[in-house]
Structures are given as structure tokens and as C-alpha cells.
Symmetry: C2
Subunit: 200 residues, 2 copies
DNA sequence: CGTCTATTTGAATGTACTCAAAAGCGGTGG
DNA sequence: CCACCGCTTTTGAGTACATTCAAATAGACG
């Protein structure tokens, strides 16, 4: 077993060996191409203008992908928690300079792999490719769904949806970030939360 | 030359022969797998629940993709004009029942091809695959951009952007549809247009 | 010409925003 | 360990803007 493996969140091994039925060899192979990396709270994994040449499995911690609009306003596209992958996916596919900041909200542990190595491993481990294709279609559907939510739901409904699906999100993500994700002002979210708490 | 070809918008031939450098043989091959089809204004090419098994080159006319939200409100995702492809792309890739209506805004001429045949032709005509990959990344970027517009711009700015990029859109698309696309009420768009016209 | 739909106009309303300031909280250094 | 500083969250007041409901006008199509 590689030295790295000792530090790994058990979820990672579970994920590949149990859920995706990787053989120990396949798992070792995948792991051997991944680099362990720490980033501290508020550090950036990626900034606009950089080309996204790697992706990183988020082993521990949480991050946010955001852009800055022409008014200088931060707009959070999504959060990532354990068992997600980090990157600016538009830039990753096109290999053009990206637009996203990817920033740690908590101290994070990453397992980083280059695009080339990942592509190579996809060929050597068909299960990896299957899983990845699955992830891509999932994330495409998720972004369609998010688009629909932003367009059709009121801020209050978006908030209620979010806490229904992620009841503990306020324990990990500061209010201002949640507000940005929901596309409302922090003051409004604070008020809304208060009103809803009083109602019951 | 096939019988169909006579009816074809010259753009189509130009597109493949000149812009993508298809040989006459490749062009004929592609064409031989496409079915010519008319649909009338307000007819549907696709409805929610149907699996999208074909795509259609829009040779003439224009269409809208829309969904109906839980309040019964129509939400237009995008319009398609000449030289675009029609379908519910989520359903096309997943081969699960779709969510989109695809409806003709004007009488339309389509060139329809099945997913299987298109995939087969992609293998036989590498240029077709190149072009298609290009289209997919383009449309992914476009939907990211649209998401950003909906989130960051005011209704007025969204309107101004639209008429800047498509100055003649009102000549072809009814106001209510444009309003739905911009995510505002028809009344508001009507007022906005009036105000802006008066200002100059 | 008449009916049906689309667009325009009017008035009132609500909701999230802005600006501004106070309170709460966390982290740092003395 | 406490005091201070900076940042986050809360609270307040006023405003702007799109929405809703309602009705009138205009336009399309048989």
C-alpha cells in the first residue's frame, strides 16, 4: 500500500473499492497517479486566467467556485464538499484560461491528478470512465436544474429548498456565501431566516 | 444528387461543403441519412415525456425550447433559428424522457437524423465529429454565460443585451416569448420598451 | 366582419435592494 | 486571559422596481 494511503479519508477507498468495485490493483493504480495536497482556509486552488490542467478529489474540507461580475460582486456557482471534484470545468475541457475562483472555505485535503493522467487511466480502467461519464451527465442535469430554480423560484423558495436538501449547511458555510449562492443579499437572507424562525 | 437536395436551403450545403470542407461524397452521405420534414407554426417537434431519439437541423423557420414550471408558467430556455439543431439535449444524451417542449414559432423545415445514424456517420466522417464536439463545447459555454446573465444583470440590461446581439428579434419572435426568455412579465417588457424608445 | 389572442396602459402592492449603523464573533497579540 | 481589531451578521428606514390584477386597445386569422 502506498505511503499516501494512510492519510486518505476512508470514504475514498470505500468509494472506489466498494461502490465502483475497483480491484485493489485498480485502486492502487489510480492512487499512484494522485498527489496529496493541503490548502488552507481562504487559499485558492484556482484563479481566473489560469488554465485548469488538473482535477482534485476533495478528500476533506469544502470549497466554493465563484466568479466576479462587472460590478465587482462575487457570485458563487457552487460549493464542493467531501467526495466531489474541484476544478474550473469549462477551462478543463477547453484548456483555455478559466473564469472561476476555486477557494477553500475550510482547510482542505486534495488528491490531485493531471488531465492527461486521468485520461490515460480512464482507458486502462474502464470502470473509471463509466463513473466519470455518469458524473458528467449528473452535473449537466444539476446545472439545468439550478438554472430552472434561479429562474422560477422566489428567493424564499430557493432558501427553503436549500435547507431542506442541506439542513446542516449553515454549520459549515458562512451566511454571506449562502446568500451569494442563492443570489440574494446577505441582509435579505438574514431577515428571511429570522422571519421563518419566528413563524414556527 | 438526391431528390431531397433540391429543397435544401443553400446554407446547408454551403455550411458543410465550404465551411467544414466536406467532400461532395461526404455531403451526400450525410444527406442520405436525413429526412426532410415540415412542421407548422405552433406544432411541436417534441413534448415532455418523450425520449429525444433524433436531432433535426433547422433549415428554415424558428422554434423555442421551453418547460412549464410548477405554477403552470412557460419558461423559454432558448430560441433556435436557421442553422441550429433542435432537440431536448438532456434527453438526447441520457435517452430518458425529456422535459422540454420544442415548438415551431414559424413554419419550419427540418432535416431529421436519428441518434444512431448520426453516431455512425461521426465515425465515418471525422470532420462531422470535430464539428459536433465544437458545437457541444460552444453550447456548454453559452449556457454558462446565460446563467451568469440571469444572475447578474437587471431585466433592463438583459433586454438591452438581447437587442444589441439580435436587433431584429422582435421581427420574428412575439413579445411574450421574448419576455419569457428574459425572465420578465410581458407587461414589464412592453413598458420597458416604451420607456427606452421615449428616452431617445 | 367578428372572434380570439397579443399588446399596451393604469393603479396598487410587495419584496428585495440600498445605505447606514449597531451588535456579535473570532482571532491575535499584549 | 483579556482587550482590541476586523469581519460577519443583524437591524432599521426608505426606495425602487417588477409584479399583480384589471381593463382597454390593437392585431391576426378565419
Amino acid at each position: 500500500m502506498s505511503v499516501i494511503a494512510k492519510h486518505i479519508n476512508p470514504k475514498f477507498q470505500h468509494l472506489f473499492q466498494d461502490r465502483f468495485c475497483f480491484t485493489p490493483n485498480e485502486y492502487e493504480l489510480l492512487l499512484s497517479y494522485m498527489q496529496f495536497q493541503h490548502i488552507h482556509k481562504k487559499d485558492f486552488y484556482l484563479r481566473p486566467g489560469e488554465i485548469c490542467r488538473t482535477k482534485a478529489y476533495l478528500n476533506k474540507g469544502c470549497t466554493r467556485n465563484f466568479v466576479v461580475d462587472e460590478r465587482g460582486h462575487e457570485r458563487i456557482l457552487f460549493f464542493a464538499f467531501e467526495d466531489w471534484w474541484l476544478g474550473d470545468f469549462d477551462s478543463y475541457y477547453t484548456q483555455k484560461p478559466g473564469t472561476n475562483y476555486v477557494q477553500a472555505i475550510e482547510d482542505c485535503e486534495l488528491l490531485v491528478i493531471s488531465k492527461e493522467n486521468f485520461a490515460m487511466l480512464e482507458e486502462r480502467i474502464p470502470k473509471l470512465k463509466q463513473w466519470y461519464t455518469y458524473k458528467v451527465t449528473r452535473s449537466a442535469s444539476a446545472s439545468l436544474k439550478r438554472m430552472e430554480e434561479i429562474r422560477t423560484l422566489t428567493p424564499k423558495e430557493r432558501y427553503l429548498n436549500l435547507i431542506e436538501q442541506h439542513p446542516h449547511i449553515f454549520q459549515r458555510i458562512p451566511l454571506q456565501y449562502i446568500a451569494s449562492f442563492l443570489n440574494i443579499e446577505p441582509q435579505s437572507l438574514s431577515r428571511m431566516r429570522k422571519r421563518l424562525a419566528e413563524e414556527r
